[in-house]
Symmetry: C2
């Protein structure tokens, strides 16, 4: 089997498989999920509706939707053994590692069996993820053991109320910032207390060749189609909270980055302020991103299983042709 | 970024990176680790010596070897929280999933920090893996909580004695077969109680188009260079145990497969009988394979980190160009 050496490190531009789920960065196609423009989905569909469409192939009708929502609700419960594991994960653990350990343990307790159960498994993982992260967070940070099986009609509502322990309106949900500021965009934005300060601070950082996170994208080259949706939400949430400073600073940073570096904001950038307005602690930003993506990832796993092909690229060998053994006494 | 469509599904033949660790299936090079032929390593080196060479780049001298062995011994201890997690993993869990959950939890309890600690992390994972799988196995199957920090000079000795609860000679270690017979090669071999039965049984399976596991290989095309080493050990262990039947049946199956199908035995095939003679329960075959590989996998992670490049192939989009939104009431 001859090895081909190709342009682009890390298999960039190489096709590993097929997907009918999403277009990412295809010129002229925008970003779509099964052909639906994300702008339209963001405006009209709930998260559960999009998840159903990704996982079952079509938009649900009312009875399918009601049934699916009820099913996801029933899957919010965590087994006792999983709770006991989460209680032993240290407070200092990165929340992404908590999701990794929690979903690994869930797989032990409720094994999938064979592929015929994959839709059940995907739904169970999807519904359990918010419970896993919030159960651990409240236990490790606040010493509370929470009941994850709530009556909130949506996953988003369940997640927010469990995380913050409050059930008020959005504007009241603003909570404290816990843990290490591991979300770099947030770290930058929260440094500044005015537009003017942000303007000068970013220019100074650029002059010092510091990297500003939340700009540019590995796949999108002109704009991130998600940005305008998230930006509009950040603005709205800032207004609802009665304190738009974080949004205004974000806008100023974006302006400077466009003017000075011709770089566009990616979806991470305004998510920082939007998530913050929702009361989500900074270390939980990435897990929340992951919870949303779980619906698409599991749908993608199903596609790969249908293809039933191990993805197995090679590595180019750069070591010695032959090494001579030397006995230990002679080393 | 234009997508290239290439020969071979699953990125076969495409180069994802570089490695100086091992040649696998390169014509004319055989199988080598950093240039050393595996036949020579299998004859002359201990596991710890090979692991050191993979992870630190050269064969250890005596003092390096003594220090490394002592370090791996000190890393056999499991934190209490990890033991408590393993106690909650059901007996029915696949042992590979136990390793996944155990190493995930270990990472929470002892985070790597940054890449400068990667050698410590690799050594810790390597030494902890046998402790994780044996601790769980003895607890879930026999209700015993074992002490994993033993005085055995080698990882192999520690693993075998913890798993079987015995410290006798190899020939006495033969233990019962637990769990589902998930090692397909073993499943086939143990069906037969004589060479003649094996000969006829395999021919019948072939006539029925049943798949015989342990033959052929995805990368090697003419022979598996590991087979003759493992085969010689299976033979020796069979003789030591005083019951060579399993080995003889294996040999007969190999003969039939070569004559009838022109297929060669791969490393899995004689591992079944060799592991069985060592007293290893069938469900633990794959975890044991993994424990050995951990040294090479972690060395490979270090190479990829040095390259610092996300491996990011694409997928070809096969979904609809545009889907029209339909309101729920109209679905």
């Amino acid at each position: 089997m001859a090895e081909k050496k190709l342009e682009g490190a890390g298999l960039r531009g190489q096709v590993a498989g097929h997907t009918a789920l999403s277009t990412v960065g295809k010129a002229g196609k925008g970003l779509t999920y099964r052909g639906y423009a994300i702008e339209e989905l963001a405006e009209k569909a709930t998260f559960e509706e999009v998840a159903y469409m990704l996982l079952y192939g079509h938009l649900p009708n009312q009875s399918e939707y009601d049934e699916y929502s009820a099913k996801l609700k029933s899957y919010r419960r965590l087994p006792d053994e999983l709770k006991e594991v989460l209680q032993r994960v240290p407070k200092s653990t990165h929340p992404m590692d908590v999701l990794r350990t929690g979903s690994s343990m869930l797989g032990n307790l409720e094994p999938e069996g064979d592929f015929s159960n994959q839709n059940e498994t995907a739904d169970r993982i999807l519904a359990a993820m918010p419970s896993i992260i919030t159960y651990w967070y409240r236990f490790s940070h606040q010493g509370e053991t929470i009941e994850t099986e709530t009556d909130h009609p949506t996953m988003g509502g369940q997640f927010l109320s469990l995380l913050t322990g409050e059930t008020g309106a959005i504007g009241t949900l603003r909570g404290p910032l816990h843990g290490g500021a591991n979300e770099a965009a947030m770290e930058t934005i929260e440094k500044f207390s005015s537009r003017e300060e942000a303007n000068q601070g970013i220019k100074k950082m650029l002059a010092n060749k510091e990297k500003i996170m939340g700009f540019g994208h590995a796949v999108y080259s002109n704009e991130d189609p998600r940005n305008k949706i998230v930006k509009a939400w950040a603005k709205k949430l800032g207004e609802l909270s009665g304190d738009s400073l974080l949004y205004e600073v974000s806008e100023e940073v974006e302006t400077v980055m466009t003017e000075e570096k011709d770089l566009f904001a990616n979806t991470d950038f305004y998510m920082a302020s939007a998530y913050h307005y929702l009361g989500i602690p900074t270390p939980i930003f990435t897990p929340l991103f992951v919870i949303g993506r779980t619906s698409g990832w599991t749908a993608n796993v199903m596609e790969q299983r249908a293809d039933n092909r191990i993805i197995r690229p090679s590595e180019e060998y750069t070591g010695p042709d032959k090494s001579e053994w030397v006995d230990m006494a002679d080393r």
